[in-house]
């Protein structure tokens, strides 16, 4: 990751900038939302294994910090925000995850709870909620 950032810095035109978006190491979680009422179904939707997305996101943070320490990059602005992926039912969400997001893991009990909570409520959605960090950087030395 450090190498990728170094290469990116070398590709910048004078005055150019690097923008990074990646989730924070905080695990993505599963919620059911009915109007403004949010019910947390699962605190994490990965298995915590060494290949889990949270490990990769922590490594990305470390790479950015290393590049800042070494002077390769200068961080100009950063912000965190909440990012939702919403579906009307659990099966629709699972189909999406199966194609796009292969390292997530859902416990059967959590899926059952989500289905029960969704019930037939009008406007109810099931959501994967992530915290994401956006960072703008300039090339340093």
């Amino acid at each position: 990751m450090v190498h990728a950032l170094e290469r990116a810095a070398a590709l910048l035109a004078p005055g150019g900038t690097i923008v990074d978006l990646h989730p924070t190491p905080e695990p993505a979680h599963l919620d059911v939302m009915i109007g403004s009422n949010v019910t947390r179904i699962a605190d994490r939707v990965d298995d915590g294994s060494p290949t889990a997305p949270t490990r990769r996101h922590a490594a990305a943070d470390a790479a950015l910090a290393a590049c800042e320490r070494s002077g390769v990059l200068i961080v100009r602005a950063t912000i965190e925000f909440t990012f939702h992926t919403l579906a009307d039912d659990v099966d629709e969400l699972l189909r999406y995850v199966a194609t796009k997001w292969k390292q997530l893991h859902f416990a059967e009990a959590d899926l059952r709870r989500a289905r029960e909570r969704l019930g037939g409520s009008a406007g109810a959605t099931v959501a994967i909620t992530e915290r994401v960090r956006a960072t703008r950087m300039d090339a340093g030395r």
Binding site: A4, A8, L11, G16, I18, R76, T85, V132, R136
Partner: protein, 96 residues
């Protein structure tokens, strides 16, 4: 219904708040996927090189972003080797 991704549009709002601007820029997007982010800024950019190692995703991007200023390449950043090119913005699109 379909999957809704960032329906509150927090992501473009965050990019604006950190001062990321794509207007008139030569952009290299790394990990462009199916072009979810590319669609947001491509029309304002001068040129875009969108990279993703997943060929299916790049095919989806080409179908979704039909703009002559967008060059979509089905390979990863490691394989991108064009020493003549320089960019105003290099965007790591959830790809670090």
């Amino acid at each position: 219904m379909t999957i809704r991704i960032d329906p509150e549009r927090h992501e473009p709002e965050a990019l604006a708040r950190i001062g990321a601007t794509f207007d008139g820029a030569r952009v290299l997007e790394i990990g462009a996927g199916d072009g979810r982010l590319t669609r947001m800024y491509a029309a304002r950019a001068r040129s875009v090189v969108a990279l993703d190692s997943d060929a299916e995703s790049i095919a989806a991007l080409r179908a979704a972003v039909r703009s002559p200023n967008v060059e979509a390449l089905a390979h990863g950043f490691d394989a991108f080797d064009d020493p003549r090119r320089r960019f105003d913005v290099v965007l790591f699109s959830w790809s670090l």
